[in-house]
Amino acid sequence: MAVAAPAHANYHDHIHPEPTNFVQKYIFSLDHKIIGIQYFITTFIFYCIAGLLAEVIRVQLLHPTGGFVSNEVYNQVYSVHGSAMVWLVIIPMLTGGFGNFVMPLMIGARDVAFPWLNMASFWMFPVAGALLFSSFLVGAPEAGWTEYPPISLQGPPGTSLWCMAIFLVGVSSTLTGINFLVTIMKMRAPGMTLTRMPLFVWAQLATAMLSMVATTALAGALLALFLERTFGVPFYDPSKGGSPLLWQHMFWFYSHPAVYIMILPAFGIVSEILPTFTRKPLFGYKAVAFSSVGIALVGFMVWAHHMFTSGMVPWLTLPFMILTFFVAVPTGVKVLAWIATLWGGRIRFTAAMLFSLGLIATFTLGGITGVFLAAVPADLHEHGTYFVVAHFHYVLFGGSVFGIFAGMYFWWPKMTGKLMSERLAVAHFWATFIGFNLTFFPMHWLGLMGMPRRVPIYDQQFQSLNVLASIGSFILALSTLLFFANVAYSLTKGKKASSDPWGARTLEWMISSPPPYYNFKKIPSVLALPYDFGEPLPYVGGDLIRPNPQSKFAGE
């Protein structure tokens, strides 16, 4: 047992004792692992609420004349659904949840650089969630997650609560970005050069840069909207000399990079899972690592592709269109590298692997329709329709959420020390995959045939496909129950997990499950990339638990 010595012989001895009282240990914890799990618990609660809101949308759209809820309620429901899924679920789960729990372990650190800041970042989330969901009490925002003025200036009082909630999330996200950037740059184990970092860490690095820079634009835009709504300061209302397009530029300057904040960590998760379950190195490590940074950089220069119909000088659409097309290059490199990784592998179809393969398939489709939307002339037809709804659900559900579930199944044994039921998990994958495609694939066609977004009623001709989509969404909702059943099963009856149940080689698997307080009593040195299966582990020193090469893998 490590005991803090009065004078530290070397840095290995600098370990503070673990807090013993419940509140310090589990509530206001400074431990990145506990904070990560706190993120997971809160975001999964938000995921369920926002998911139920989505089901309200799908029930309403079962019939062309709606009728399940009033127009006002419908508008509030989809607005809060979108806002919550983006800001309260996907972003915090991928950065706050996985970033916090996994990233410091992967780089051989004992915690993040600023644990107090980390705790502060987390505690903004429950507050933001309470603000956003309580807006239903006073009239929730109605103008969608984008809240374009001037209509958002007319919105119900809850729109101001929305501003405050998203502002808080933005502050939290910025602070987490700074925290992770410093952690990754300064706290890697000796010998872990940048090009020996696991790919998930690369993804978190690119994401941290994006969150840190882009979120400030959103904060400014939100503050202005709040001031205009509350005190009548005319930023956006054209009848008072404001500009509605100012909001759109500010909003998308954040919200397009935010798409990459939501997808890059999921790419990172896949890039860890594929080597593990093919038992070979990821193809083209450097290409995959640098393409994350490439996507992040180009991602800052494409925001106005959301505004091709909003009104700008015609020639200005061209650079935005072409730069957007070029995002497809680093993204394509990633997808092709993942596929090349499968070649010659020893592939085990665990649930984590299935969700990763599912991500590659569905995200690719979302990426392809992204190119359709980026082409200005085609976008003149597609903008603002269900085609867009289909596209971004393929990216954000088929990409980000599939990545989240892949990561959950992969790191669950590390978080809890228990295994999940693979059988149930595989059933969860297939139900999700089928439900997802049934829900969102028909929407491409609906959009192209003339169904606009954000409508509580629609033309008779669109009913059959809407019913199909709704049935798919019910399957999707039920599939989520399989996941929670698995959580309950694992926590009560799950088998004990070994330190390395999958045969993975990154540092987090070289310590016990769940990891001890302070992770590494002695910090190891890193000699090479972790993915060379068959070679000895590239770690020297430390008090690592080296996996027994003959032990069985979980899920066999």
Binding site: N71, K240, F325, P452
Partner: protein, 376 residues
């Protein structure tokens, strides 16, 4: 060291047959899509629609091929290299880190595809910029929750129905009187947001007679879902008689000869065509009452800078800033009446038109007299 699994020979079992199969599927997809006429799913009712469909078709062909190969190889490789029952689970895969030529291909192939798509898209974009629109210009104004259309020869807007002559290049200028609306004609494949204080332009040539939808694609409030207008494309003769009937129904414009294009003010503050017509004689005292009821919530009777929502209207005729700034016309009683009829959207804000303000012709005459009297 664990046993390394290796394919039996060369690139592995089934690689070439699968490649051939996926290539065949791709060719079939490209050919089938190439022969498919998108107009059978959704009519192409105007000229750039075919251009836009051809771009969409090209994207769908390329995207489909990419998807066939990605998805095909994903499934094939997953099955070909899966661990079968009885296999040694500790065997490892081929320890390949990269293959420089293949990796270079991963960068080059998408780059070439993207360059090609950019080239085609820019060409079609350039074609759209060249669309003529010189035969007729109609102004479309979005309101919560309907569309108004203004024709050069009518002084009242036509609500909800946009009539257009067949085979005549038209320009539709769109704006809004309140919040952002969308103007989408799916059968024309064109869309522009109707943004208050801003004018967006669409140019096309209707080629197929019929009645089509105009759909609002930007959330605009509680009845957004039912904000649907109509485009009626009809032969030129039918269109002309429709226009004449509209002119007849509304009667002669009582104050101004023809309403200057409202939205022209927004794009070119100096470009509004002058409306010079004798102004009906009004009563300034009655005008004061109308002003208090309909105007005073937004306008003071002070100087131009004494704004409430709009500018102060106290010295319209002798204040150099106003109303020349608004319409580009010399300040006159006729110009005042003109703005009261048409409303205003432009650099200094927006004002509802006569219908929305619910003021009668007599009210306008009286208001004009009152506002002129204030300047004296």
């Amino acid at each position: 060291m664990a046993k390394q699994f290796a394919p039996k020979k060369g690139i592995g079992p089934g690689f070439w047959p699968v490649t051939v199969l996926l290539t065949a599927l791709s060719v079939a997809w490209v050919v089938w899509l190439g022969r498919t006429d998108f107009a059978t799913f959704l009519p192409e009712a105007a000229v750039p629609a075919d251009q836009i469909d051809s771009l969409f078709k090209m994207l769908a062909q390329m995207g489909g091929v990419v998807f066939i190969f990605v998805f095909g190889f994903l499934i094939y490789l997953s099955f070909a290299y899966r661990v079968r029952s009885g296999d040694d689970v500790h065997a490892i895969g081929v320890q390949m880190h990269d293959a420089p030529s293949l990796e270079l291909g991963f960068w080059i192939v998408p780059t070439i595809m993207v360059c090609f798509i950019s080239w085609v898209s820019v060409q079609i974009w350039y074609g759209l910029q060249q669309s003529p629109g010189n035969a007729l210009t109609v102004e479309a104004v979005g309101h919560q929750f309907f569309y108004d259309f203004r024709y050069p020869t009518l002084w009242k807007p036509v609500s909800q129905e946009l009539h257009l002559p067949l085979n005549e290049p038209v320009t539709v200028k769109v704006t809004s009187s309140d919040v952002i609306h969308g103007f989408w004609a799916p059968e024309i494949r064109l869309k522009a947001d109707m943004v208050p204080g801003l004018v967006n332009t669409l140019r096309f040539t209707p080629t197929r007679p019929g009645t089509y939808r105009i759909v609002c694609t930007e959330f605009c409030g509680v009845a957004h879902g039912s904000m649907i207008g109509k485009i009626v494309i009809e032969p030129k003769a039918t269109f002309k008689s429709w226009l004449a009937a509209q002119a007849h129904a509304e009667g002669p414009a009582p104050v101004v000869a023809a309403a200057a294009p409202m939205v022209a003010n927004a794009t070119h503050p100096g470009g509004g065509s002058a409306a010079v017509a004798p102004v009906a004689q009004g009563d300034a005292t009655a005008g004061k009452v109308v002003f208090a009821a309909h105007c005073s919530s937004c306008h003071s009777v002070g100087g131009f800078d004494e704004k409430l929502v709009g500018p102060g209207l106290g010295h319209l005729l002798n204040d150099p800033a106003h109303p020349a700034l608004v319409t580009g016309e010399k300040a006159s009683a006729a110009a005042i009446a003109h703005i009261l009829h048409t409303g205003y959207t432009g650099p200094i804000g927006m004002m509802p038109n006569q219908q929305q303000n619910a003021i009668s012709e007599a009210d306008i005459a009286n208001l004009t007299a009152y506002l002129v009297s204030l300047s004296k």
